[in-house]
Amino acid sequence: MATYLEFIQQNEDRDGVRFSWNVWPSSRLEATRMVVPLACLLTPLKERPDLPPVQYEPVLCSRPTCKAVLNPLCQVDYRAKLWACNFCFQRNQFPPAYGGISEVNQPAELMPQFSTIEYMIQRGAQSPLIFLYVVDTCLEEDDLQALKESLQMSLSLLPPDALVGLITFGRMVQVHELSCEGISKSYVFRGTKDLTAKQIQDMLGLTKPAVPMQQARPAQPQEHPFVSSRFLQPLHKIDMNLTDLLGELQRDPWPVTQGKRPLRSTGVALSIAVGLLEGTFPNTGARIMLFTGGPPTQGPGMVVGDELKIPIRSWHDIEKDNARFMKKATKHYEMLANRTAANGHCIDIYACALDQTGLLEMKCCANLTGGYMVMGDSFNTSLFKQTFQRIFTKDFNGDFRMAFGATLDVKTSRELKIAGAIGPCVSLNVKGPCVSENELGVGGTSQWKICGLDPTSTLGIYFEVVNQHNAPIPQGGRGAIQFVTHYQHSSTQRRIRVTTIARNWADAQTQLRHIEAAFDQEAAAVLMARLGVFRAESEEGPDVLRWLDRQLIRLCQKFGQYNKEDPASFRLSDSFSLYPQFMFHLRRSPFLQVFNNSPDESSYYRHHFARQDLTQSLIMIQPILYSYSFHGPPEPVLLDSSSILADRILLMDTFFQIVIYLGETIAQWRKAGYQDMPEYENFRHLLQAPLDDAQEILQARFPMPRYINTEHGGSQARFLLSKVNPSQTHNNLYAWGQETGAPILTDDVSLQVFMDHLKKLAVSSAC
């Protein structure tokens, strides 16, 4: 391995893991002084086309509290057919099937290149995937029409044996029975009444069959599909029915008087969806897909009243503690989310409306269950349509890029303990010897449940070094972590992916350089950002910023090279050089700044931030800016106002938006129509280039970004202007005296000012 960069990249490609530190400080005290915790970003289902799953089951350590999986790091005694667990040092006998094992005849899991390996489990009944559509009918006619079409389209994308169900809601909630011929049946619930799971199941008539089932327990798995057959049907059976049913969906018929919002019972609808699945298919992969076109306005989980004159809560209201429904609603959805998670189902939220839809309150449904959250202006936009379509894309094997009901089990060697995880997961509350008492993110457990995940779902997992300073680890010692992910593959198989990684320990006092060099500032930035965002969910914004700042300053103090009290002397090594800049943009990002964002938007952004992998997360923190000009090929440029030049076209990718910005001159040229003139074909190509690149990004990304095509002076240029570093503002424009770049009308500090302050604070001995 030539450089740490390559090492990091290689590890990421193989294991889907990025550590903040790739050489670990060997004592607890030193580790805390490193400021950035030892942590990693784990993409449990990272796509590995080169990794065919093995068709057998993993070999587990026999110690009941350990149960680690046999891995390449284990010491194996081929003669005695024994292996030693590298986590608990338990010596284990190989199972009989491994009788022929030898140095030359190793099972895959012992080979170093299989530090990540996937097992396929044949046992157990395979239950089909379940898709339960929960559809809001309080939509405008064209919106509803578009949504209906999307839904109908999605039927063609689902696996034919998948079970599908349909719940529609408005003022009432209707659970549609799909099996019937002729007359279409649905069970209707009042939208204002909170029902317990038991009540819901009683009312849907789901409890009766349970009685005979208990008597005939052995037959239970077989009977399962029939239990709920009325509401969840194999797609191939009711394809036509359902298509018709969707086609006939009408807008909620209850009159909405002037000055009122339609009554929308999202809370009850979700509750019923959850209850339905809970009663019929617990612990099987199921996806509840909530399509909503506005805020819940009645019943449990209502976010705003139906009086239009009272607007939906804003950040301002929340700060003033003036959002009267928020707490109750949040509690309702949290309760649902937890139940859903406990059953291994996930909830997607597709919210398309011009105003807020209550994502703030509902966010936990998606966040805790690993569901998707999609926000758009209307169902009748390509943004929604394509995003939705993209959910059903398939991988190289022709399998859906989705997995269900995963549990992530983390095992560590003794020097480490698990502090917590941040990502689309819930704690399974499994206490074990390797669980730290200090929590970062969702802690107190070594197992998490991730009910829905896809190949990019990424968790931040935080560790604590517990090795005491006075118990040094022998030179060359390695710490190991094993991630065991049980999940239901989209092909309905149960699978287990095991990733075992090891890193060197280093004494921070003597080998600080090593540790420093092995710092992964990108991963660190994302991991810190996740911590910050996690805190921001529960704390006041300024506190989080202060905390971030302090961490940054401490990090600079620790790893910077400088003379005391001399800001000018401050230097950071290469492995740290970008980190302050990430932090600068993070501070300005919508994840921590709520200004100009609605609570829903904040929730939406944070949701995605907490589940995307490193690359995407970085884009979110610090958008990428490409510049197109006649002067050469497109090049990435600084996210800085100075990059905004008249003769350039800029393409900015913030993950959520793709902005194409034509500089002043370019815009004028285009207006003059040069692109249509044959002699200026190159201009046409120039104009086309960013469009093509944007298209490429649009194709690949989920959720589909908002696509913005603007030009100098255009109103939409604000998307760009608000992101770039305001190096030129109305305050310093003339001071700089340059013609280049565009001034930004803002009082925000620029990166330069930020860095100056940072240097000053870092070198100050006062801190």
Binding site: G182, I183, K185, S186, Y187, K193, Q199, E248, P253
Partner: protein, 1095 residues
């Protein structure tokens, strides 16, 4: 009293007069004051007491003045003159009475022969004739019934003969005749003011109608045999007397018995109260003398004890038993009334006329008072004071059927539109403009006839008055000239100040296992497909404005979206029965024509969808709640048709448990069987009423369903309950479908409020029927149809004035089935009297029974059944005792004397006492009792009449060719001949009884089998055969069914067959298995009670 009076006149005019005066004075006191009789007047002041005194004085009844309407004053004149007038009066009556005359003849079989002739000639008219029935009975002699008039028994004899002649002669007498009441009617014109006097007198005499029974002397043959009377005559004049004839008789008496009478008369003055005078004459009826009788009497009594034990069989032992033929016969009374009054239209222009019996077919001409089809009263002459009323114990009640259906030849009420200002009303009491309002000051103001408040006439309503003080447009305006009419209501009369939308019908069908298994659901769905074309529509509307909706349910509810734009209906299941709501808005209630295809498809599919249901549990309250919610959402009133099969035991509001416990019968806890199990049902009903949601409940129980509880909601919302126990399509389809059709098609009013206003002096205090009341005056009816009746009881709260009478105005505010808000007004004016005899002469027993049954049936909710029965008996005894004491001529205690108008009271009352509710037989289920109880609550007079005293029609007695209904026979086994076939109906049941020795030919032509033994017992359909007998019977059955609001299922019963027990239950004159007394026994018992009261 009447009786007495009548008599007096007869003999010596002069003499009688004295008596009268007393009367008059009392009544006229004020006016008469001036007159000579003065003294008496003075006495007046004191109401009753005064009377008594006066009489002695022998003041003549001036009343006579009858001549002039204003009479009152005139009357003062004097007796004799008066008499003369009287005569005149009669004459006057005569003319008007023409009708009466006719009746007379008809009145009684026997009377007819003789009477007709005599009477007619006699100007007298009415009087004469009336006698008939009474007499007859009298003759019966079992108990001799002597008409109160009781012109002496002898008279009776004479009476018969004489009546006619006499009548003619005396003229006046006739009047006095039986139907005093009639005369009155005629008289009325005159009378009003005081014409009464003149007329009245006669009438009064009429009262004599009372009939007295003496123990059976020798079993007289039947009534019909006029001859009978003669016999009685022998026995006693009594018989004849008894009857109205007396009237006639009186006169006659006057002649022959005259002696007696006179003698009596003489005495009377002295002793008795004024009434007495009249009485005495009767008594002279000396009925008492009716010698024979008394003795018998005694014997009967003893019999009484035996009472219970007595075998139903008529019995030979003459001494102990009364001859059934001798006691008043309902059949006879009905027949007489039919003959007397069925031919001429009943003109309502005159105050206080007693209408013909409900069993009589007659035409009504509305000339200012509501038709008796709308309102019937227990008495058309009510006592002026509450003391009198208390003394008489005759309940003052009106049976109101605001939306009664009229025969095709009577016009339904005109609709009056007073424009935006709405109907014209009195400012103070809010009474609506009616013919009794008095316009004054040249028409600029009017004085309210109810509260006397003077109101301005709004300019747009102004009209000049003619010389009589009548508005010149009186005859152009229904509200000024008719007793019944409608106003268009303005928006002020609407809920929420919004005109209502057309109402809706929601069909709610039980689809639990039972309903499916019996085939009910399939049958019903099939029927609905065509039935929906016949929803009620208003006037000439092309299609009904009523929208329909469908719900099926078992443990959960299924709503159906049948919007016309759908290809297939949509079903929406609501299982949240604890908190019911309606899951859809659009498409639930639809126009039948627009959504026909979808509805048809739905009705096709419902039976299929639930064909293999295993759900046996049902809910009930949530179903109705759903209906309410649906109507609420649609902002309209409406009706729910509930088809329900079982006790609602599913977990839901209103869940019931089986609490049927026969052990409770005859205990103090028996009442709990009639009370609802939980209060939830009442609460629910209240909500229904608030929304104008009427519930019709069709029950198809296999076992106990707790009708008492389930019927609470229909009952309080003005709905109906139908019960088809052990429903099977083959057997009950016809009945169910027919009921359903009729129910769906009938015109209904929704969201109604009824208010009964009265003129000062009386007040409506109690209401019976299917409705809800949230305060003490407004009767709230979520729905009201033409079969529903509200019985209203009145009490005095002040003294009434004879001159102004008493007025009733029943105003019904409702939403028509086309969604129009309207007010229907019925007005009725009654006479007031100061003499009890007037009261007794103007009573209607059928109405009385209607009231008493309802009163008793409500009583069982709160008191032990035994107490209720005792109350009834006591009240009845008091009524009759009061009559006996105050109105009948003195006679031996052994004689039972009944007022002519009430001579059927005992027999009818006995029927009420024996009814299933008050005296259940072993085979009567708790549900049946509760069912009947609630049915009776809203029955009208005609229904209660036949319900309590079933009609028994011999089919083979009359010639096949005759097209009329065969004359009924009395409901007693001894009237059945085993060679005949009979049809029995009581409004709910229809039996065909086949005697064991019926001719084979008859069997063949009716049943198409060769012998009696081959007839299937329990058969419910007769084969349709092409022979005259079969056609005739079928036709008769059809016509009987057509008369009743519910389809009567036919049951063929063979003599000596098991089923015969069931049949015998309806032979109400016999002793019943459950311990009910026979008519004869009960009569004796009654007599004993009365005697006790008198002594």
């Amino acid at each position: 009293m009447n009786v007495n009076q009548s008599i007096p006149p007869v003999p010596p005019f002069g003499q009688p007069q004295p008596v009268y005066p007393g009367y008059h004075q009392s009544s006229y006191s004020g006016q008469s004051g001036s007159t000579a009789p003065t003294i008496p007047y003075g006495a007046y002041n004191g109401p009753v007491p005064g009377y008594q005194q006066t009489p002695p004085q022998g003041i003549s009844r001036a009343p006579p003045s009858s001549g002039a309407p204003p009479a009152s004053t005139a009357q003062a004149a004097c007796g004799q003159v008066a008499y003369g007038q009287f005569g005149q009066g009669d004459v006057q009556n005569g003319p008007s009475s023409a009708v009466q005359m006719q009746r007379l003849p008809g009145s009684q079989p026997f009377g007819s022969p003789l009477a007709p002739v005599g009477n007619q000639p006699a100007v007298l008219q009415p009087y004469g004739p009336p006698p008939t029935s009474a007499q007859v009975t009298a003759q019966l002699a079992g108990m001799q019934i002597s008409s109160a008039v009781a012109p002496a028994p002898p008279s009776s004899e004479l009476g018969y003969g004489p009546p006619t002649s006499l009548a003619s002669a005396s003229g006046s007498f006739p009047n006095s005749g039986l139907y005093g009441s009639y005369p009155q009617g005629q008289a009325s014109p005159v009378s009003q003011a005081q014409g009464h006097p003149g007329i009245q007198t006669p009438q009064r005499s009429a009262p004599s109608q009372a009939s007295s029974f003496t123990p059976p002397a020798s079993g007289g043959p039947r009534l019909p045999s006029v001859t009978g009377p003669l016999l009685p005559g022998q026995g006693f004049g009594a018989p004849s007397v008894s009857q109205p004839n007396h009237v006639s008789s009186p006169p006659p008496q006057a002649l022959p018995p005259g002696t007696q009478m006179t003698g009596l008369l003489g005495p009377p003055p002295p002793m008795h109260s004024p009434q007495q005078p009249g009485y005495q004459p009767q008594q002279n009826g000396s009925f008492g003398s009716a010698r024979g009788p008394q003795p018998n009497y005694g014997s009967p009594y003893p019999a009484a004890p035996t009472f219970g034990s007595q075998p139903g069989l008529p019995q030979p032992l003459p001494p102990k038993r009364l001859d059934p033929d001798a006691i008043p016969s309902p059949i006879q009374v009905i027949e007489d009334d039919r003959n007397n009054r069925g031919t001429e239209p009943f003109v309502t222009g005159v105050r206080g006329q007693v209408p013909p019996l409900v069993t009589t077919n007659f035409l009504v001409k509305d000339q200012g008072n509501a038709s008796p089809r709308y309102i019937r009263c227990t008495s058309y002459n009510i006592p002026c004071t509450s003391d009198m009323a208390k003394q008489a114990q005759v309940p003052l009640a009106a049976v109101i059927k605001p939306l009664a259906r009229l025969p095709p030849d009577e016009a339904s009420p005109y609709v009056v539109d007073h424009g935006e200002s709405g109907p014209l009303r009195c400012n103070r009491c809010k009474a609506y403009m009616c013919p009794f309002m008095q316009f004054i000051e040249g028409g600029r103001r009017f004085q309210c006839c109810f509260c006397s408040c003077i109101n301005d006439v709004p300019p747009q309503y102004f009209q000049h008055l003619d010389h009589t003080g009548k508005r010149v447009d009186a005859y152009d305006r229904p509200e000024l000239s008719l007793g019944s009419y409608e106003f268009l209501a303005t928006v002020d009369y609407c809920k929420n100040n919004k005109f209502p939308s057309p109402p809706a019908f929601i069909f709610m069908i039980d689809v639990s296992y039972n309903a499916i298994r019996t085939g009910l659901v399939r049958l019903l769905c099939e029927e609905l497909k065509s039935l929906l074309d016949f929803l009620p529509r208003e006037g000439g509307a092309e299609e009904s404005a009523i929208r329909v909706g469908f719900v099926t349910y078992n443990k959960v509810l299924h709503f159906y979206n049948v919007k016309s734009s759908l290809a297939q209906p949509q079903m929406m299941v609501v299982s949240d029965v604890a908190d019911m709501f309606v899951p859809l808005l659009d498409g639930f209630l639809v126009n039948v024509n627009e959504s026909r295809a979808v509805i048809t498809s739905l009705l096709d599919q419902i039976p299929e969808m639930f064909a293999d249901t295993r759900e046996t549990e049902t809910v009930f309250v949530p179903v109705i709640q759903a209906g309410i919610e649906a109507l609420k959402a649609a902002e309209c009133a409406g009706k729910l048709f509930l088809f329900h099969t079982s006790l609602p035991i599913a977990e839901a509001p209103g869940k019931l448990k089986n609490r049927d416990d026969r052990k409770l019968i005859n205990t103090d806890k028996e009442k709990t069987l009639f009370q609802p199990q939980t209060g939830a049902y009442q609460t629910l009903a209240k909500e229904c009423v608030a929304q104008g949601c009427c519930i019709d409940l069709f029950l198809f129980p296999n076992q106990y369903v707790d009708v008492a509880t389930l019927s609470v909601v229909p009952q309080l919302t003005g709905g109906s309950v139908y019960k088809y126990a052990c429903f099977q399509v083959e057997n009950d389809q016809e009945r169910f479908l027919s009921d359903l059709r009729r129910n769906v098609q009938k015109v209904v009013a929704f969201d109604a409020v009824m208010r009964v206003r009265t003129s000062t002096g009386i007040r409506a205090v109690d209401f019976f029927g299917a409705f809800y009341m949230s305060n003490t005056t407004d009767v709230e009816l979520a729905g009201l149809d033409g079969d529903k009746t509200v019985t209203v009881e009145f009490k005095h709260d002040d003294r009434l004035n004879e001159e102004s009478g008493a007025l009733l105005q029943c105003a019904l505010l409702y939403t028509s089935c086309a969604g129009q808000r309207r007010l229907r007004i019925h007005n009725l004016a009654l006479n007031c009297c100061t003499q009890l005899a007037d009261l007794y002469r103007n009573c209607e027993t059928d109405t009385l029974i209607n009231y008493m049954a309802k009163f008793a049936y409500r009583g069982v909710l709160n008191s032990p059944v035994k107490a209720v029965r005792d109350t009834l008996i006591t009240q009845c005894a008091q009524i009759l005792a009061c009559y006996r004491k105050n109105c009948a001529s003195p006679s031996s205690a052994g004689q039972l004397i009944l007022p002519e108008c009430m001579k059927l009271l005992p027999v009818y009352l006995n029927c009420v006492l024996k009814s299933d509710v008050l005296q259940p037989g072993a085979e009567v289920t708790t549900d049946d009792r509760a069912y009947v109880r609630q049915l009776v609550t809203s029955m009208d007079v005609a229904e209660t009449n036949v319900f309590f005293y079933p009609r028994l029609l011999p089919l083979t007695k009359s010639p096949i060719e005759s097209t009329t209904e065969p004359p009924a026979v009395r409901a007693s086994e001894e009237r059945l001949s085993n060679g005949d076939i009979y049809l029995l109906e009581n409004g709910l049941n229809l039996f065909l009884w086949v005697g064991a020795s019926v001719q084979q030919g008859v069997v063949q032509s009716l049943f198409s089998v060769s012998s009696f033994s081959q007839i299937t017992s329990g058969l419910s359909v007769l084969p349709v055969l092409d022979n005259p007998l079969s056609k005739k019977v079928q036709g008769l059955i059809d016509s009987l069914r057509a008369q009743r609001s519910r389809y009567m299922k036919l049951i063929v019963v063979k003599q000596e067959d098991k089923l015969e027990m069931l049949f015998k239950h309806f032979l109400v004159e016999d002793k019943s298995l459950s311990g009910g007394a026979s008519y004869v026994d009960f009569l004796c018992h009654m007599h004993k009670e009365i005697r006790q009261l008198l002594s």
